[in-house]
Every structure is written in structure tokens, then in C-alpha cells.
């Protein structure tokens, strides 16, 4: 005789199967939702934060800074001033139409400056950057005058890729603090504008071999 298939018992098992299935599925889902890690956390964080509110100490803003004429990700930022760093600024105190009245004028001429900047075939001349009409300013190839504090506009003519990175924060570096008002180094804080490449030198320290 053929045994009757127990449809009734199958219906009894079904809810148990569903519950069992959920029990297995739930931990798997939890495990996967946790696995996204830092990348998803970063993506979720789109809310702008209050600059000063993040860290509960007063962050001093360094002196000798100027506001940059560009905006980064929707905010203003500052850079180190240049004019206060140049010892004999204003240039026009010597470079004018009057007679040179300084005793040691020969010694303080700019003969020590070596220009290692630009292609080997056609290095830059002084007046590529320095204005001949107004010695206190730089001049772009299109003839607009640039203040020495905003030298990034000058460098950015050729090094536009670096300038873009500098505005965003991938090139150059911040001054002292990661929180608070954004103050970054100017181009000329790190690079000598006359020979901008970093020099070859000995490392500051050494590592002992491990193992």
C-alpha cells in the first residue's frame, strides 16, 4: 500500500524552517553590515563641522598670515606671509631712480642668487617673475602685478596641478594644528623660489636593523 504523504506535517515544519532560516540569516547580515569599515564611515560623514568646536582648547592663530584669494571646499584659508620674511623688503628702497647711496652696495647685490628653475634649455630670468616697473611686486606672464604674499598665484601659472593640490590639502602642509582655522605654508615657506628643488643631503638619523 502506498503511504499517504503527510502534507499536514509539512505545514507543521514550515514555520520552524522560516525561524531557523532567519536565525541563520540575521548574524550573517550583521556581520556584513559591520564589514564596511572606515570607508563607509567616511562616506556617511558629510556634515560640516564647526572649526573651533571640535577641540575644546583655544587654538592660537599664528601671526604673519594672509588670507588666500582662493577657497578650499567652500571655506576660506590662510597662508604664511612672505614680505615679513624678506630681510631687505621693500625692494624699492634700493631699486629706484635715485643714486645708490649705500656704502656696501656691491656686497648686498644679488650676485649670490643662483637660478636653478625652469627647463635646462631655457631657464627663467629674473624678470620672468619680478616686475621691472614696480620692484616691490611680481608680474605674471599676462602682465598683472602680484603681491609677494600671494606668491602662489605666481607659481600656479606653470605649476597649476600643484596649486590645485595645495588649495585642497594634498600638497604643502598645515602650520602646527589640524583643528581650528586652516593655516598652510606658502610655496616659498618650503621652496626656495630661485632653486625650488629640495637638496640632496644626509638623513637626519638612521634605523638599526631589526632581527
Amino acid at each position: 500500500m502506498k503511504r499517504p504523504t503527510s502534507r499536514k506535517s509539512l505545514f507543521c515544519i514550515l514555520p520552524f524552517c522560516i525561524i531557523l532560516g532567519l536565525l541563520v540569516l540575521f548574524p550573517v547580515l550583521v556581520a556584513f553590515s559591520n564589514q564596511q569599515g572606515v570607508a563607509s564611515k567616511v562616506k556617511k560623514a558629510t556634515q560640516k563641522l564647526d572649526k573651533q568646536g571640535q577641540v575644546k582648547i583655544s587654538i592660537p592663530v599664528p601671526k604673519n598670515i594672509v588670507k588666500v584669494n582662493e577657497e578650499y571646499q567652500g571655506g576660506v584659508f590662510f597662508t604664511e606671509a612672505r614680505k615679513t620674511e624678506i630681510k631687505r623688503f621693500r625692494c624699492s628702497s634700493c631699486h629706484n631712480n635715485k643714486k645708490v647711496t649705500i656704502l656696501n652696495a656691491a656686497d648686498i647685490s644679488h650676485a649670490d642668487i643662483q637660478v636653478i628653475h625652469g627647463d635646462k634649455g631655457k631657464p627663467l630670468a629674473c624678470d620672468t617673475c619680478h616686475s621691472q616697473d614696480d620692484r616691490d611686486f611680481l608680474v605674471t606672464s599676462k602682465g598683472s602685478k602680484i603681491d609677494l604674499d600671494h606668491v602662489y598665484d605666481m607659481c600656479g601659472q606653470c605649476h597649476f596641478r600643484q596649486k590645485k593640490d595645495w588649495i585642497g590639502g594634498a600638497h604643502g602642509k598645515r602650520v602646527t594644528y589640524w583643528a581650528g582655522e586652516r593655516v598652510v605654508k606658502n610655496c616659498t615657506s618650503c621652496h626656495n623660489p630661485h632653486s625650488p628643488r629640495f637638496e640632496k643631503r644626509w638623513p637626519q638619523t638612521y634605523s638599526v636593523p631589526h632581527n
Partner: protein, 310 residues
């Protein structure tokens, strides 16, 4: 019920009792002996004795933290005659620290290594360093092919430089390996060590795939005048022989808004440090606009340290 009968004495109350009697006893003993014998000053001895009975950092109440900080500061004054400031600054809200390293810009000057050693009071005797800079040939990808002990004029032709340190993984294998829960990840993403709970088993050292942890094989020696006085309980405070230590993204600096010592010292701007949760931060710009990669990403440790190229 049964529980009423069992109330007499259990392990917890027994230990509590012995601890408190020991502290009380130590106070009596040390108050009695005024002579400065083998143990140094009696006050220092009493403080050191009390230090043995403090809790795990995460279990301490605010008052207990203040107590141990006061003891540590007093001990430094008594034993080394220096005034230090140990702080226990809490993590800043809505902050997750991240780091990016520009392999194109690094020139191998190793100024970061020196700044790190000074800032974090690392042992000068065994030359402990948290950061290691590898000199690699163009085309190499992994630092195990590079030269970590170069000493010549840098940058060398045809080479690039890659700095390696603790990557502050978001899924840290070292934390899982620790048998005493002496190491953990703080809410701001920094993996720290409670030096007083570390038993020196070095399981974490074995678990770390990046060689990010250092062990004190000997009593650390730092010249007195070079000790960094601004310290953090979980950061650059005094370590002794047999303790594990590691890079903490300069917790004593970063929680106050400063850059880490290595990022501040870098002369080429190859190091970018900032808040990953702040869409305006530089690190976010790097992650969104540059080609980035992480070391041994397939291991699933989820490091918060990215390398990028210009």
C-alpha cells in the same frame, strides 16, 4: 534561597578586602620608616606601592584618574627631579583620525623619525623607533622589498621612500590578541595601550601584520633634559622594561588639535593628518581626489593610513 547562603565571601569581595588592607598596611609601614634606605625615599616607595593597586584605565572613575596622575607626577618629581604634566584628555567628539602619506613627495630625510623619538620619549639605548622609512626602487610596491636601513645622501636616484608605522587599524588584530585587554581602540580611532595592564606577552606583536608594535627589552633610558614633559596617560608617559608600546598618533598632541610630531617635522609635506569625519579636512581631499592605497588591504584590518601618489 541558595544565594543568601553564598553571600559569605566570594572572590571579588576577598580581593577587594586584601587590596584595601594592603593599601592601608603600606601606608602604615611606609609612614613608619623614615630612613632612606635601599628603596629610595619612603614617599616614593609608598606612591609606587599604591600604583600597583590602581584599576584599568577604562574602568577608573574621574577621581581615580586624577589620583594616579597626581602620583605619577609626584613620582617623576621625586625620582628624576623633573616636572611633568600627565593628562587624560578624552577623545574629541565627531573625530576619527586618519593619515595619508605621499610616496612621491617623501625624500627620505628621516626628520619625522627623529621628531617621533623625541616627542614620544622612546628608548635611546636600544634605539627604538615607531616609524621606519623604506628606500624602494621604482616599481616596487611592498616595503619588505625595500631597504629599511639605508644611510647615504638622499634622495637617491631611481628610488622612492615609504614610511611605515602603526596604521591604527579600524579592525585591529592586536586588540583581539591581547589576553589582558590592555590594548584597545579609542572612539577617535587610536589604538592605545594601558602600560600598567600590559603583561609583556607580545601576542599583539605577533598578531600585527605591519610590525607596528615595539617591546621594551630593557629599561628605557632617556637623557633627563630630553624628556618631553607634556605627556598623556595613554601616550608618551614613562614605560618600563617588559611593556609593549606603539605609535598613538601622538595622542598627547592630536587630542589638543595639534599635528602629530612626524607630520609637523616633515620638511616636504608628505604627511597629511586630519579628521576623517570632517568633509573639509585635508585628509578627505586626499581620499577623494588622489590615487590612494593601503598596505595589505586584503587582510581586512582596515587601516586608517593611506598612501597616495601625486
Amino acid at each position: 534561597m541558595d544565594s543568601d547562603k553564598k553571600k559569605k565571601i566570594n572572590r571579588r569581595t576577598f580581593l577587594k578586602g586584601t587590596a584595601s588592607t594592603a593599601i592601608a598596611g603600606s601606608a602604615v609601614v611606609t609612614a613608619g620608616c623614615k630612613a632612606k634606605g635601599l628603596l629610595g625615599s619612603s614617599e616614593a616607595f609608598a606612591l609606587e606601592f599604591q600604583e600597583y593597586f590602581k584599576k584599568h584605565y577604562r574602568l577608573m572613575t574621574k577621581a581615580e584618574r586624577e589620583g594616579t596622575v597626581a602620583r605619577l607626577e609626584k613620582l617623576a618629581r621625586l625620582k628624576q627631579n623633573i616636572t611633568i604634566n600627565v593628562d587624560t584628555t578624552e577623545p574629541v567628539e565627531k573625530v576619527l583620525y586618519g593619515y595619508a602619506f605621499n610616496v612621491t613627495r617623501c625624500e627620505g630625510y628621516m626628520e619625522c623619525v627623529e621628531a617621533c623619538v623625541k616627542e614620544n620619549n622612546l628608548d635611546r639605548k636600544s634605539n627604538t623607533q615607531y616609524i621606519r622609512i623604506f628606500e624602494m626602487e621604482h616599481g616596487q610596491m611592498s616595503p619588505d622589498q625595500g631597504d629599511g636601513k639605508y644611510f647615504h645622501m638622499v634622495p637617491a636616484e631611481g628610488h622612492f621612500y615609504m614610511g611605515v608605522q602603526c596604521f591604527q587599524c579600524q579592525n585591529p588584530p592586536c586588540v583581539k590578541a591581547c589576553p589582558t585587554k590592555a590594548t584597545w581602540m579609542e572612539p577617535d580611532g587610536i589604538v592605545v595601550v594601558d602600560y600598567d595592564w600590559c603583561i609583556g606577552c607580545r601576542y599583539c606583536m605577533a598578531a600585527c601584520p605591519y610590525w607596528g608594535r615595539r617591546f621594551n627589552w630593557n629599561q628605557p633610558e632617556i637623557p633627563k633634559e630630553e624628556i618631553t614633559k607634556e605627556q598623556h596617560y595613554l601616550g608618551n608617559r614613562k614605560r618600563v622594561k617588559g611593556m609593549m608600546e606603539k605609535c598613538t598618533f601622538c595622542i598627547q598632541r592630536s587630542r589638543k588639535g595639534k599635528l602629530t610630531a612626524c607630520a609637523e617635522a616633515c620638511p616636504t609635506g608628505a604627511r597629511v593628518f586630519g579628521n576623517l569625519l570632517d568633509p573639509d579636512s585635508e585628509i578627505r581631499f586626499v581620499l577623494e581626489n588622489k590615487k590612494v592605497y593601503r598596505l595589505k588591504e586584503d587582510l581586512g584590518t582596515d587601516p586608517k593610513f593611506w598612501y597616495f601618489i601625486d
